[in-house]
């Protein structure tokens, strides 16, 4: 995927850091705002050295005021900046639903196309660690539901750099769903700036028996699951859709038409969820029987604290393997 020239190993967090630094460097209208942008305790290495390099006026650490700071990012974008606002825990972005959903998502439409909002809402998911219900929620479905928002959820270092640069350059509001458990994952990443187009999934592993569709952290777990399934004679194809909206329908449909079975692996709740959307897509556009469509979700419950309950709650490759085997 990546050329060898000018690439080196970089982990996911530093790939984010490089995307941010290169955009801040090359475009004076880019600003980064959010609680903890100067603190690794909040954002890991993703914002390393940014305030030192670009100053406090463009890299803005904030009071704990998610609604106002997100609104400020939206307002700055309306006034011609390209703004990135980070919520180090997705849960706290719920305080900012007004600027995200009422304002940014609707803005271009309700202004009759006269004013757009080039803003990136960067939400970090932190599942596990006995953090319980308000530090761990996966809310991608909520944002993907709203017209006017694009939603991206990259799973690799290469993808996160290219998709984040694409998100910053996009004239529309983009929700960037991030997962802290990916931060250590390294791969070859080009030094130069590049964009990955939205709405283009990628086949992570070729296979012929079943299609696994996922994104973000669970795309990686799905690859692991596919390797384990191969040992048991099930040859799974793994699709990482990379962007939930726009959605690469074709890559999913092409794969399913080949394999005849699908498991949709989604880190959020099942009811009215993203997996339901993909299942509906399969129903509407293929002849697959419902018995060949499997939805793999977390239980319809808030995230628990105790690790014993967490084991029954979060998905991983073992659970994906177990679920997929029920179709064979």
């Amino acid at each position: 995927m990546s050329s060898n020239k000018g690439t080196r190993k970089l982990n996911y967090a530093l790939a984010i850091n490089e995307a941010l630094a290169q955009k801040l460097e090359s475009d004076p209208s880019v600003i980064l705002i959010g609680q903890g942008v100067t603190s690794p305790w909040y954002v890991g290495n993703t914002c390393k050295d940014l305030v030192e390099r670009f100053g406090e006026e463009r890299v803005i650490d904030t009071p704990v005021s998610e609604n106002a700071t997100t609104g400020a990012a939206v307002g700055a974008a309306i006034a011609g900046m390209k703004a990135i606002v980070v919520h180090p825990r997705t849960d706290f972005a719920v305080y900012a639903f007004d600027p995200i959903i009422n304002q940014a998502a609707n803005w271009f439409y309700m202004s009759g196309g006269t004013s757009s909002v080039p803003v990136v809402f960067w939400l970090i998911v932190n599942g596990g660690g006995e953090q319980a219900a308000q530090h761990s929620q996966a809310l991608h479905t909520v944002f993907a539901h709203v017209p006017g928002l694009k939603v991206i959820a990259p799973s690799t270092a290469y993808d996160v750099k290219g998709l984040l640069i694409g998100a910053i350059n996009d004239p529309n509001p983009v929700v960037f769903i991030d997962n802290r458990s990916l931060y250590g994952a390294s791969e070859n990443v080009p030094e130069e700036m590049y964009e990955i187009p939205f709405g283009k999934g990628v086949v992570r592993r070729k296979g012929k028996d079943i299609t696994l569709v996922s994104f973000s952290f669970l795309a990686q777990e799905s690859v692991k699951a596919a390797e384990a399934l191969a040992l048991e004679g099930i040859d799974a194809e793994v699709i990482d859709i990379r962007t939930l909206k726009p959605l690469d329908e074709k890559i999913i449909l092409d794969s399913v038409n080949k394999t005849g079975k699908i498991a949709i692996v989604d880190s959020a709740w099942k009811f009215c969820g993203f997996s339901a959307e993909i299942a509906a897509l399969i129903n509407e556009k293929t002849n697959l029987s419902n018995k060949s469509i499997l939805r793999v979700n977390i239980p319809d419950a808030p995230a628990p604290a105790s690790v014993s309950l967490e084991e029954g709650y979060y998905l991983n490759s073992d659970k994906i393997v177990k679920s997929v085997k029920s179709l064979f």
């Binding site: 400020a72 307002g75 700055a76 009422n102 529309n172």
Partner: protein, 325 residues
Amino acid sequence: MKYSPGLLENLYRTMLTIRQAEESLVEPINNGTIRCPVHLYSGQEAIAAGFCANLNQKDYLFGNHRSHGHYLAKGGDLKKMIAEIYCKETGCAKGRGGSMHLISVENGVMGIVPIVAGTISLAVGAAMAAKVRKDKRVAVSFFGDGATGEGVLYESLNFASVYKLPVIFVCENNLYSTHMAIGKIRHKNHIADIAGPFGVKSFHCDGNNVLKVYEVSKKAVEHCRSGKGPVFIEFLTYRMRGHVGPDDNIQGTHTEIRPLKEVEKWKKRDPISNFSDYLIKKKVLTREKIKNIINQINNEVHDAHTFARESKRPPANEVLKYVFQ
């Protein structure tokens, strides 16, 4: 303070344009030609006119559900406004926004929304943009007394103060938050006091006297533009029409919310008739000149309605247009 006759006449013209435009909407609202929710600004004209006279075209303005006056005072096109209220393709938001989403980016009218307090943080962000670019623009958000119940106002005051942003928080206290009298929704009715604890400079001002509004606004804009940080202004005023639509009982439920005596008292404080009396007394304008101005503005408003009525609505097959750029 000394005023040039030109400025005084402009303040009068702006207020009158707003009033005539607002009152021209009553009939088409009542007969159903205009269908979208319309929140009339009649009675509060001195605030938009007096404040915006201190802004440059490039300064940023954000408004609320009751913002026809702000749009016009900042230079927004009358025909495009009336057409938008009729939800026509020729409107300033191409019929996608209606009365509550007027916009005129070229005049700095960056956005108007009915979510109460919804643009306060947006104005803070626009001020942040101005500060990063060092372009000396200021940003203003107009909101009502009802917005003082929203948490984002206090978050925004703190944020703007900490970063010394060039933003002006303008609260138009018209004494009613939809159907609720202010005494029922606030512990204290001296809203300007909320700014002090955040270190934000504040003013409390008669919002029905356009010259007082002008003077306070001038101080606020100068303070902001010189980099001294945000300002909060409370203008005390009164809406002469209902919360939405011409009357308080437009929806058939909220009858006689406001005591008749109170309404009569505020009618005597009408910002436009008082100002025209002042202009005649000071010999800035003659009665005849005022009559001419009224006729001229009435013609403009009439033409705007004709333009709007003759314009087409956006075609149904374009419902997906403008979801994304």
